[in-house]
Amino acid sequence: MRNMLSTSDLSRSSAMGILDIAEDMADISTREVKKLPTLRGQTVANLFFEDSTRTRISFEAAAKRLSADVITFSTRGSSVSKGEGLKDTAQTLAEMGADAVVIRHGASGAPHILASSGWIDAAVINAGDGTHEHPTQALLDAFTIRRRLHGRASRGKALDGVSVLIVGDIVHSRVARSNVWLLTTLGANVCLVAPPSLVPVDLSRWPVTVEFDLDHAIAECAPDVIMMLRIQVERMDAAYFPSAREYSTSWGLNDERFARLPPDSIVMHPGPLNRGLEISSLAADSVRSAVREQVANGVSVRMAVLYGVLTGERKGDA
């Protein structure tokens, strides 16, 4: 594995490979010495053109647990505010000896450009690009589902037949896109639920079903997993729904809907939570909620991805 850019080009076997390595990494975090010497002497540059708390900290923790050095770069207070472009910023980091670049960018495809332009030699990991993909989030979601379903016996298991509802702002969500590709590759049945204004125009090539009515979808699918997406106020420059209250009433996971979910279903949310809008506090804080596990598992999964891109011979392997 040379780069980690998207989940749509990830094969079932390589996805399972990453999840299994993440299991080993999760075992490490239960030890007294939570550190491995694996990436000693390598440098991971976090290049964040968009705000982020958990993804940036999660990558930083993952790199440090593998003994890599971490350079963190965020646009605020950097030369980007003086007008420096992606190419020059990336090359500056590469000259400082970065072996891997973790990039979050507001433009879809920015990590792809970095990986394919030949500007830098470093491995590129996509930490969220525009409304395109967020592959490590999808991997940690799959990892979390697998651990909830199979516990300690998760290794080697896929998600065949697991029914997943993804609810909310599909059109702006890179988390939804990455999850659609990864979860269906692993054998899950994915159903998207959203107001029609928040569903992408052409879904004919997506391996999913689409519902507009959340209550109907819950009754119909009896979901094993319900994944609530954040309403992305910063990406909404037009009115996609009449009011926050109306959205919450029709598509939010409120207390009453939460009570109607199958008793062993898993509630997930990529964070940050808009409590009271897309998810109620009762649902977010219940034992069925995996929100906090998602954060913990994020570190293990990102360790596995860093291990994958930074070890092995750096040639011929696309």
Binding site: L36, R155, T311, G312, D317
Partner: protein, 184 residues
């Protein structure tokens, strides 16, 4: 390809190693047998089972010898030289602090795997003693490491290849030696 150890030879070697482990440890107290995956872990299971069989002559039923596996992938020094390795699982039967840990591997060659294993042990705890048992000891050491218990010493040249087959993984028990030049 030449077979150098048959099933019976392997069984005898493991029995002898088990006796030596008990003798050096003056009994079976505080022993933990840790195999290095994949085949070392299988050998560790067999040695632990043999120790259980021979360790108590007085007819009492003792607690079974503690056995586990220790994956060293993350501690290797050749990770950037080979294709990405898939790690195996580490299972520890209990805390290794102040215990006698016997590491088990199938073939001892450069010694780099054992170096990685010692580093891995250091991150898990502080054993009282660490010993090393190997089924086959071939030469070509690159580090100052030696085995305490050896099933068979096989002086080889660098272009020869040793393959250890174990019934649990490969369906049969044998150790073969082949020349890489011969296999084209």
């Amino acid at each position: 390809m030449r077979t150098v150890l048959q099933q019976l030879d392997i069984a005898k070697a493991l029995t002898r190693i088990s006796h030596e482990v008990i003798e050096a440890n003056r009994g079976v107290d505080a022993l933990i047998i840790l195999g290095i995956p994949t085949r070392g872990a299988v050998l560790a299971q067999r040695i632990a089972a043999t120790i259980d069989r021979i360790g108590y002559r007085d007819g009492s039923t003792p607690p079974a010898t503690e056995v586990g596996s220790l994956d060293v992938t993350m501690y290797r020094d050749d990770l950037s030289r080979n294709v990405t390795r898939t790690p195996a699982r580490t299972t520890l039967p209990s805390n290794i602090d102040d215990r006698t840990v016997v590491l088990v591997d199938d073939v001892l060659c450069s010694g780099r795997t054992i170096r990685a294993a010692l580093d891995a042990l250091g991150d898990i705890g502080r054993p009282r003693v660490v010993r090393l048992a190997v089924l086959v000891n071939r030469g070509h050491r690159e580090l100052p490491i030696r085995a305490d218990y050896v099933g068979k010493n096989l002086p080889t040249s660098t272009d020869e290849r040793i393959s250890v087959h174990l019934a649990e993984i490969d369906g049969d028990d044998c150790v073969t030696i082949s020349s890489e030049r011969g296999v084209t």
